[in-house]
Symmetry: C2
Subunit: 215 residues, 2 copies
């Protein structure tokens, strides 16, 4: 029954395939509304198989959330490591922070879902803090590097600038993910972010915007 299962094709649902399916369901319906049966269907397998790989529903969902939160970092690090120009790296970092429709928006959904879980489950806090400090680290590093090299002329201490940038990204990104026309759109978020970074770091706004578009 069903499509030809010919050959030993690795079409079998592995743990990773289940996580990936879980993520698709989470983006569509949210963590709370996600059923084991949904995940199984999305993965093209049975509920039994999901339980074969993960003890409980909570295990699948948490694993999926952590998995999804982890993935963007590889790409970010690859991108940031590629180039030494601090202005370009800052612009790229900012651009990557924006929840444009599609994959970027989806990645933001996982971040929000994790935050929400943490709100009433303190035991998850360390996971959230770990992602957050890594993210903040990128901003800190690029600002410090740019300040030392003279590319930036920050008006406040590096620590302070990093905290401001992260908070701004969080606040704007959140509203932007929630959507709506009267709220902040990704485009508006981009404007605010770039203008702020330019003001705060004493760099040319148009120059920064140009690098961002290229990223």
């Amino acid at each position: 029954m069903k499509g030809a299962t010919k050959a030993g094709a690795p079409a079998r649902p592995t743990a990773e395939a289940i996580l990936s399916a879980a993520c698709r369901v989470i983006v569509r319906r949210g963590v709370e509304a996600t059923r084991i049966a949904d995940i199984a269907r999305e993965a093209g397998t049975s509920t039994g198989t999901v339980h074969y790989y993960f003890e409980t529903k909570d295990d699948v969902l948490l694993a999926a959330l952590k998995w999804a939160n982890e993935r963007p970092y590889d790409r970010v690090e690859e991108l940031l490591g590629r180039e030494a120009d601090d202005l370009w790296r800052l612009a790229t970092l900012l651009e990557l922070s924006i929840p444009y429709p599609g994959p970027p928006r989806d990645e933001w959904v996982f971040v929000l879902e994790l935050w929400f879980q943490i709100l009433h489950r303190p035991e998850l806090r360390p996971a959230g803090e770990s992602f957050d400090s890594r993210w903040r680290g990128y901003f800190y590093d690029v600002v410090r590097s740019g300040a030392e090299s003279g590319a930036f002329h920050p008006t406040a201490p590096v620590e302070e600038v990093a905290d401001r940038l992260v908070a701004l990204v969080d606040g704007l990104g959140l509203k932007s993910v929630l959507g709506g026309e009267s709220w902040i759109t990704p485009e508006r978020m981009r404007e605010i972010l770039l203008r702020f970074a330019a003001d705060e770091l004493g760099v040319d706004h148009d120059e920064l915007a140009r690098r961002a578009r290229a990223g």
Copy 2:
């Protein structure tokens, strides 16, 4: 049974008492984990009574969320209307934005819960946008007023400053509500906010901090 019901004392659980009970449960367990039975127990009544006042569970929870999100505004407006000094009003607004443990933190929880609901239920967006634009309006008004009176010397357009302040409050408040030691604490949030506002509006930081403490 129970305390004396003498006289026509309105000790009966009204819709408002149920909302208030629902809010207490939501703060403790979160919207998703809140059961009708929990609300009834908290209100000292029965599940039937909850359904007597509200059609469905969803109705109670949404009503409770909106009710809880509404309440802080009265206090804010009362406070802001009381004094004409823009520096004082700005300081107060910032101080009120901080989720200190206790009631302020609880109010933030309701904000987050509403945001989370909106994430997967677009029909709630208008409610969120309405609260948000009111909140943003306070910042816009005070910044514009201060700029016009010469009390502030903003380095960016008023619109832009208001958006930056709101985003900063959202981003910092969020992390602050999530708690933890390595994350932003309310005290750290206060520092960042006040320093930023002082920088951005060209006012004396210590002066601003002094007004805030008084609020």
